[in-house]
């Protein structure tokens, strides 16, 4: 057996055995080649000894366990942290009910509508060569060079946008009322779906 091969094979023995007696017992039960190599090679015997000393030295890194009081503090801190972070899973909080999911869905739908409306009205269009240069460069009206007709057009758009926002507000109020009714168990949610369809996307 070559020394390099021996060294790889002997390391688990060095790690898993406590004192010399235990090591001798393990060696007796182990491969004959390993044993005979160890008997004949002084360098490998020294290597094994050195490995065992190294591993024994690691015992200084072993930690004293904290006391029961410290563990209670850690446990309390864990409970406190999970209570604050409110995970979706776990026993401290009931799982989300269908009503909550429905409410979240409705809010998401309204947010989507608002985003769509905002996108339609505020997206930058292709540059109009007929516009004054100041407008094309700045990308927004302003300054003395701004075209008055363009400003009028913007004002109309602004008004339309305000109307849409108030319509969405009204819808939100309806949703809230409907859920309030549901919460107190007075009936089912009835939303006028047509109101959503009227909103341009």
């Amino acid at each position: 057996m070559r020394c390099s091969k021996f060294r790889k094979a002997v390391l688990p023995l060095a790690m898993e055995t406590g004192d010399e007696r235990e090591l001798a017992l393990r060696l007796e039960r182990t491969d004959v080649k390993l044993r005979s190599h160890l008997d004949s090679c002084e360098e490998c015997r020294s290597y094994l000894r050195s490995c065992r000393e190294t591993l024994a030295g690691l015992s200084v890194l072993e930690a004293d366990q904290p006391g029961e009081r410290k563990w209670s503090e850690v446990r309390d801190a864990i409970h406190e942290a999970v209570r604050q972070k409110a995970p979706v899973y776990g026993v401290a909080w009931p799982s989300l009910s269908r009503v909550s999911w429905a409410r979240a869905g409705a809010i998401a739908a309204v947010a989507l509508i608002i985003s769509a409306v905002s996108f339609v009205y505020f997206r930058p269009g292709p540059l109009d060569e007929s516009l004054p240069r100041a407008l094309r460069v700045a990308g927004a009206p302003g300054g003395e060079e701004a075209d008055l007709a363009f400003l009028d057009e913007l004002e109309v758009t602004d008004r339309e946008y305000d109307e849409l926002i108030s319509e969405i507000d009204e819808l939100m109020r309806e949703i809230d009322t409907a859920y309030a009714q549901l919460d107190i168990g007075t009936g089912e949610v009835s939303l006028d779906k047509g109101r959503f369809e009227n909103i341009p996307t």
Binding site: R7, K8, L11, A14, M15, S50, C51, E53, T54, L55, A56, G57, L58, S59, V60, L61, E62, A63, Q65, P66, K70, W71, V74, R75, A77, I78, A81, V82, K85, P87, Y89, G90, V91, A92
Partner: protein, 192 residues
């Protein structure tokens, strides 16, 4: 996974909050040992254990019975320890020449209570800690899990997500490097 662990997880998933405390008691010491061996600092180790158990709490509700809690826990602890080590190194790079407060404190205490002998022992301890810290993360993790936790090669391979051959190689290199470092420093005879 042992039957007790399985039962506790089932209890937790069934709404028994006390089951988590029992799991905590079951693994807290092993978790602490692994974290301490890595960080060499009591407070850091406790923080890591706390963080690991918070993560466990979050995933325990959808735990699959085939995975063992402590295998997962060790993996989280090793990752958290590596992250914390990186953050500390970055901080230390900014303030060069700093001594780690924990090491400085321990040395001072030793001088007060035990004279030269305990100072020498403390220096040896610090040197060994540094030698272990200088190992690459994979070798260090393999060494800690094998030596301090007494895990099998197969268990370490699952935790580290690599082959058993790779773990054996990591252990071999880790012990050899330590052996060489300690021999150079003349720290081979350090029986307490």
């Amino acid at each position: 996974m042992c039957p007790e662990e399985k039962k506790l997880i089932a209890d937790f998933q069934g709404g028994d909050g006390g089951a988590f405390d029992k799991i905590f008691e079951m693994y807290r010491e092993r978790a602490y040992r692994a974290a301490y061996a890595w960080t060499r600092n009591r407070d850091d180790a406790l923080d890591i254990v706390q963080e690991a158990f918070i993560k466990l709490y979050k995933v325990l509700g959808r735990w699959k019975p085939r995975a063992s809690v402590y295998t997962w826990l060790y993996r989280v602890i090793i990752n958290l320890s590596i992250d914390r080590g990186r953050k500390k190194t970055r901080r230390r790079e900014v303030r060069t020449g700093d001594i780690v407060p924990e090491e400085r404190d321990e040395r001072l205490i030793s001088r007060d209570i035990g004279g030269f002998e305990s100072v020498a022992r403390e220096e040896t301890r610090t040197f060994i800690r540094r030698a272990v810290s200088s190992l690459p993360p994979k070798q260090r993790a393999a060494l800690i899990l094998k030596y301090f936790e007494g895990l099998t090669i197969a268990e370490i391979a699952v935790i580290q997500g690599c082959s058993q051959g790779a773990i054996k190689a990591n252990l071999f290199h880790a012990v050899n490097k330590l052996r060489i470092i300690l021999k150079k420093n003349g720290t081979t005879d350090y029986a307490d």
